[in-house]
Amino acid sequence: MKYFTTFITLLLVYLLLAGFQVNEVILGSVLSVILTVILTKYVDYKIDILFPIRFLKFLFIYIPVFIYKLVLANLDVARRVLSFKIPLNPGIVKVKTDIKGDLGKLTLANSITLTPGTLSIDVEDDVIYVHAIDVKGKNKKEHSKNIAGTFEKILGGIFK
């Protein structure tokens, strides 16, 4: 399963970049086999049976929310930049996460960076340090909830 998925992914990326011709398919397959052998031997990662389902969830639940939030973030930036006096209340806030895997944490940190008014600075074990333009909420729990709430719920169902 792991070999097969890795091979298909590599071949697909190669073909998308090079174009779908017979000689490209042959060359791409050879390169993908070599890279698959190297990657599965030296890089530690796991792909299980549920991978296709999780990938579909990622595609159809996470991506639309992500794009919506990205547009919101840009409108937020536009509003701040174009206003006469820039509204600011910046601070660095700790956000706790329940997501365990490295890939899940990476995706969460990236999502936080691209959502309105936040920028993840550092990830350490189960804590993400986030710089927020406008710190809302009274205590630490409210900070975490304001910043990571939606994405953590979605990503928790996709990554473990």
Partner: protein, 111 residues
Amino acid sequence: MEIVSYIFLIIGGLFFLLGGLGVLRMPDTFNRIQAGTKATTLGVFSTLIGVAFANPDWIAKVIVIIVFVAISNPIGSSAIAKAIYNSKNVPGNLVIDELKERGEDNDNDVV
């Protein structure tokens, strides 16, 4: 088809302009990074979608480029932000700084 592509290109350019303006107008480093990252990410997406509409043969390549940009752009800005924090040039206008409580950071793997 052409008109749709022009609309997307113009929107992309507009977001780049806003990003540049944000970098100029924001008062401190972290806020500048924020404005820069967000505006350029959506700007790149929009421009590339405009390119895909103008030339439908390139749609596969455009998708691959969008995925790579979507992954690498936030990582880059996080790395820059972390390097700034570790270089002790933290702007003085933070209302709250919970990263300070962590203590001395002695890993030098940022750069």
